[in-house]
């Protein structure tokens, strides 16, 4: 059952990131491991998620910077693939993500006699980013309005609401809002999406399809 209209409106929020270099580099996979151990949470978010925000054009091998660096710069495709398959959206807590990345690299290094390092490539530069949120002009009090907002907001709003659960404002959680609206069916379907397997445009299309189906839009 829907209780549309009885909850606070959902305010769409766009964002952009201010990128910061931490001045730390890794020339080999052990230094990468040590860097991941020490990196602030914002750095792990940056290197595993914000690819989707900064590159809507496919310009890297994987959306995970650690994986791309291992595969391209170190030419260790095995580690690149093992890191690429770590899905940052599987982890509710960034420390669990950190532990998994460390464990993948540690196990990989344990199986090798030497530490693979950059030969002719570039070192890994640890970065982090600050998300600056900017109210979008869209708000929704019903599922129809939510669908319309999704269709017209800047791609960065899709990123903010669906790719950054830990860094967005709590009230910007679309799942919580959909649940409050009584549209648990829609919330459950959105919950089942895999952001890491989509571009922002692809994610937007999937969200619109879910809304259209829930709204009984012809052709959905």
């Amino acid at each position: 059952m829907s209780s549309e209209g009885a909850v606070q409106p959902f305010e769409f929020v766009a964002c952009l990131e201010l990128r910061e270099m931490l001045g730390r580099v890794a020339w080999d996979e052990r230094e990468l491991l040590a860097g991941i151990e020490d990196a602030p949470a914002d750095s792990l978010y940056y290197h595993t998620r914000s690819y989707f925000l900064r590159s809507r054009y496919l310009s890297a091998l994987y959306p995970n910077d650690f994986a791309t660096w291992a595969a391209i710069q170190v030419r260790d495709r095995v580690l690149g693939e093992r890191l690429a398959v770590v899905d940052p959206f599987d982890f509710g807590d960034v420390e669990l993500l950190r532990a998994d990345l460390i464990s993948v690299i540690d196990a990989h290094l344990g199986s090798r006699g030497t530490v693979p390092r950059v030969d002719t490539g570039e070192p890994f530069h640890f970065m982090r980013s600050t998300l600056i949120d900017v109210p979008a002009t869209a708000r929704a009090t019903t599922l129809e309005e939510f669908r319309d907002g999704l269709a017209r907001v800047d791609g960065s709003a899709i990123y903010y609401h669906f790719y950054e659960p830990a860094r967005r404002r709590p009230e910007a959680d679309p799942l919580r809002w959909l649940d409050a609206l009584g549209r648990h069916d829609v919330a459950d379907r959105v919950r089942a999406l895999h952001p890491s397997m989509s571009s922002l445009d692809g994610m937007r299309a999937e969200l619109l399809a879910i809304c259209d189906q829930a709204l009984g839009v012809h052709g959905a």
Binding site: A14, G23, I132, V153
Partner: protein, 411 residues
């Protein structure tokens, strides 16, 4: 006089939400003042960039000024040496040279009004201004003084240590630094932000031109359009390797007929330009298909026409701050062959928008390959234009500077 460009004009080239986002972001710092200081009003990428930024910041409600330091010839000789040393060239510095640098900065600090909420100092020339400035209180920050940022546009990844040690003593006094690429970052006790530079799609250098306009410009420049044109646009600077481009052209020319155009001009703050130009002229002597065009700094229309007439854009730099001529070429739908240096590698997606090369031979091979595969060249040009639309336009750059202001002023 060209017509003034307004923010809404950019809706023609970027998604409409981009402009809306800029306006809302600017709302958070509206009324907070911004000052840019560099060393020249004409010539070079920084001056060109600032001339576009300033009116757009104004339109966004951010009061902005752009001041230029002045100095004697000796000062600019020192800063050119400093610039080269920071880009890795061995340079000798005497105590007198460093004293002249400091004295000019002291004089300029006394002359300029450096009292904005955010002050962005560009490149090494005015970097020491901060030493001679009392930092007055900035309204609303709750901290003493405006926020000072040092913006480094050059490739400082492997600086001569003495030069960097000299400059570092000033840079560490800033509230932050901006570099164009992660590899330019240094060990510094201040935040180091990453902001790529950008091009303005509506400027005279990048706006759309008709075929007639392109033809007329090339006629005036004396460049026939009877064979494919390879083009490098850059000031005559050794780091841009113009002689290397001529050598690559000569390798191509053994098999494929084409023209080479090297277009550029020395900037006000570059005393070495004339010497490099003489070397280039000597290297090109005797080949009527090589066109060396020394253009005035304001020849944006001519550069635009040349880029649109070219079959392939070359930017064979060996060191590069960022190399925005790459983005300019891509914006015109051209494949770009660039040196594996600085921001060129950030702009070229290998095999998708162009190629990066590390030698004269590599450059020649890629030129030949593209000349023989025009459909691929055209596809690369298309991808390049879309990649620039996403990553290297002034609207993205403005947004990141506003984000920086928001962060610095806790707005």
């Amino acid at each position: 006089m060209p017509e003034a460009i307004h923010l809404d004009d950019y809706r023609r080239v970027v998604p409409p939400q981009t402009i809306d986002l800029l306006r809302r972001l600017a709302g958070r710092v509206r009324g907070r003042s911004l000052l840019h200081v560099n060393s020249t009003r004409v010539g070079g990428g920084v001056a060109e960039m600032l001339s576009r930024y300033v009116p757009l910041f104004e339109e966004l409600g951010v009061p902005v000024r752009w001041d230029v330091i002045s100095g004697a010839e000796e000062f600019f000789r020192v800063t050119k040496s400093l610039h080269n040393a920071l880009q890795g060239q061995e340079q000798a510095f005497t105590a007198e040279m460093l004293a002249a640098y400091l004295e000019t900065n002291r004089e300029n600090a006394a002359r300029l009004h450096l009292d904005s909420d955010v002050v962005i100092i560009h490149d090494p020339q005015p970097a020491a201004l901060i030493v001679f400035t009392r930092r007055p209180a900035s309204a609303g920050t709750g901290r003493e003084g405006g926020r000072w940022i040092w913006r480094c546009h050059i490739d400082a990844s492997r600086p001569q240590r003495r030069a960097w040690a000299f400059l570092r003593q000033f840079v560490t006094r800033y509230d932050g630094a901006i570099f164009s690429l992660p590899e330019f970052a240094q060990q510094l006790p201040i935040p180091q932000y990453l902001i790529h530079p950008s091009i303005d799609p509506l400027s005279e250098k990048n706006r759309d031109l008709t075929a007639e306009e392109v033809a007329a410009a090339l006629d005036r420049l004396g460049v026939p359009r009877d064979k494919p044109i390879l083009l490098q646009v850059s000031r005559f600077d050794r780091f841009k390797d113009p002689v290397g481009v001529i050598n690559a052209y000569r390798l191509v020319k053994k098999h494929d007929d084409c023209r080479l155009v090297l277009a550029g001009g020395p900037a006000d703050d570059d005393p070495e330009g004339a010497q490099v130009l003489a070397e280039v002229m000597a290297a090109a002597q005797g080949d009527a298909d090589i066109h060396i065009l020394v253009l005035p700094p304001a020849a944006h229309y001519e550069v635009n026409a040349l880029q649109r007439a070219a079959s392939i854009i070359v930017q064979k730099s060996t060191r590069e701050g960022f190399g925005l001529t790459v983005a300019e070429g891509m914006w015109k739908g051209k494949p770009v062959i660039g040196g594996h240096a600085g921001g060129i590698t950030e702009q070229i997606i290998e095999g998708v928008t162009g190629y990066t090369v590390t030698s004269v031979e590599g450059c020649a091979y890629r030129v030949r390959y593209l000349l023989h595969n025009p459909a691929l060249a055209s596809q690369m040009g298309h991808h390049g234009r879309e990649y620039v639309r996403e990553r290297f336009l002034i609207t993205r750059d403005l947004a990141e500077h506003l984000a920086l202001m928001v962060t610095l002023l806790h707005a």
